[in-house]
Symmetry: C2
Subunit: 360 residues, 2 copies
């Protein structure tokens, strides 16, 4: 018996033992009956729609076809369970990112605390502008300004303090349009898609240009995705000992990998070491991830969310003549690449029956 | 019904459906009977020893106690399954690393191929010395020399080419003492420990100072650990397109993280985002990983392999007066820290009944 087989048997036997402990024969008979009932009801449930928030159409059909092809053992495109990887961009793909990325809002909100700790920053730009509260001036901050703010607000604390800080903020902050926590502004159709893929044996990953530690703080609760399956923009940490001699990890203002554009396939290789079979995005920042995914053999699913629903969410990105913005740009060139490569463009307006879970 | 519960039901129903498809009633009855038999035999098997290559003693007891404490729901040290993380150093902890790290042997063996591609290196040190085949001179190469060799031999190809190259080498290379593939020189007691932890719901990770992509090439086959659970020294990659327009990832001579010493807890945070509950090492390079693991709440298991068995393997490291070497140093200071912090020192000589799977 090889070590792998032994391991498998051990796993089964251990699980079985845990069940058997404290269980007498009568209880066991009842359990067998219950198991039967669960199997029967689960079988009935399996006939229902895994994607109830999706309208019938090309996008939904493509998803179902991909899952059948990759999970049916008789299919030539069958993928062994351990190789089933699906990568989801976050901002604009799984939750609202307009008019400003949620993490940028978090960083701006953190500026007063940073200045309190380092008062000399109060009269230094861009911190001075942020402290002024002048929304028009804040909206005009340049990318180098924002980078200074990100570096200052996302470093200098331990990784545990940071996680606590993100969770505290995200529990109280509200999106101004819907007056709801940002974590309620996730797209219900994409949540269903994640669940459907996981139920089909896929490991689902967030692959975001946002901060890896930021998204990890809530990924399990919001997406059902554990921290080790979040690939994001990575900052360095520094191991040291605090005054009590306890080892700590402090977040450093040092960029290890910018997980956007070409950085997405690079981040995927670094963190996962496998090419995804499915990838979902909404902007030019996702282009290379979709290209990398599509360059693999067999069945691959590449999809882009088009924000074309001004009424229920937003309409932006120059593709199809929508208004251009700085956030999550879906260019006409990306649209054309999608068409030529068979990537599926998801129209929020036409493909999604409902957008948020709270729209009952 | 919340989205999480729905997802769970979906998962169950989907799996059930897959089973029911193509299965008629008679076959189903036979399957139920077979399931019964499997449950019964697994139950019997569960009475046997999960660590047969370990002698009874303090080390084995500590492992079994840790597993019971962290997996028994009535224990105050119970750990939810999703948080169960165990980190294993590789060189000297899960396989032989003496007298030279296996990956260094690989890199030295690759030098001729690198020089063939770049003939100008033939007369440049340290490549000239490696090409000379002078074993005494090669053994005297300095750390900066070795770094030049590592950078040159571990970069410049696509990640897929590299993985193919490692697998080709590892299938043919032999350790000179045992005349066996390096992958057969894994420690059977540590393989059993990994299997026992996985059977108890732990995710097992390799956390190595070796190259992440090097170890990933064989980790599933040798350790049952998938590539996404290998944390190692990380090099950068570069996304680009080859002459046919196909997207490729090329390994760059750029160090992102040296996953050794303080780099181990930093690498664990980067790749996993959780503090391990158990960590296993054998040298000063593992010190900070064990400290970081031990700084968490509840039950934690920290163990160090002491190479004190010159007959069956090797005896080295200045702890307990063993001879010093450059490879995997187990200092007396580390030994003293282990004693004072309650880390378990595994004596290969006394704690391991057998070392390799091939010793029947």
């Amino acid at each position: 018996m090889g070590p792998r087989l032994k391991g498998k048997l051990w796993q089964e036997s251990h699980q079985t033992l845990a069940v058997f402990r404290h269980v007498n024969k009568l209880t066991f008979c009842i359990m067998v009956l219950l198991t039967w009932l669960i199997l029967l009801s689960a079988s009935a449930l399996a006939q229902t729609d895994p994607l109830p928030s999706w309208n019938e159409g090309r996008a939904k059909q493509a998803i179902v076809k991909f899952v059948h092809e990759t999970t049916d053992q008789s299919s030539s495109n069958f993928v062994p369970p351990e190789e089933r990887v699906a990568a989801f961009d976050q901002d604009g793909t799984t939750w609202v990112s307009h008019p400003m990325y949620t993490q940028v809002v978090f960083c701006l909100d953190r500026v007063p605390a940073v200045v309190k700790a380092k008062p000399e920053l109060a009269n230094v730009e861009p911190f001075k502008t942020v402290l002024s509260g002048d929304k028009a001036a804040i909206a005009k901050l340049t990318m180098p300004d924002l980078e200074k703010i990100l570096m200052a607000t996302l470093s200098g604390m331990t990784v545990d303090q940071f996680s606590t800080e993100v969770n505290r903020w995200i529990a109280s902050a509200r999106d101004p349009r819907w007056n709801r926590p940002y974590t309620e502004l996730v797209y219900q159709p994409m949540i269903e898609l994640m669940q459907y893929l996981r139920a089909s044996g896929f490991k689902t990953y967030i692959v975001t240009g946002g901060g890896q530690d930021f998204v990890r703080a809530y990924s399990q609760r919001v997406y059902g995705i554990p921290p080790e399956q979040v690939v994001g923009t990575m900052g360095g940490t520094k191991f040291s000992y605090n005054s009590a001699g306890r080892p700590i990890l402090t977040k450093e203002p040092k960029l290890l990998l910018n997980d956007d554009h070409a950085g997405k396939p690079e981040g995927i290789h670094l963190m996962i070491g496998r090419r995804p079979h499915a990838a979902f995005g909404n902007s030019v920042g996702d282009q290379q991830m979709l290209e990398y995914t599509g360059a693999g053999d067999g069945a691959r699913l590449m999809m882009l969310v088009l924000h074309d629903d001004a009424q229920r969410e937003y309409a932006y990105g120059p593709a199809q003549g929508l208004p251009d913005t700085k956030v999550g740009t879906f260019t006409q060139a990306l649209y054309d690449e999608a068409r030529s490569k068979g990537w599926i463009v998801i129209s929020m307006k036409n493909d999604w029956k409902r957008i948020f879970d709270f729209e009952k």
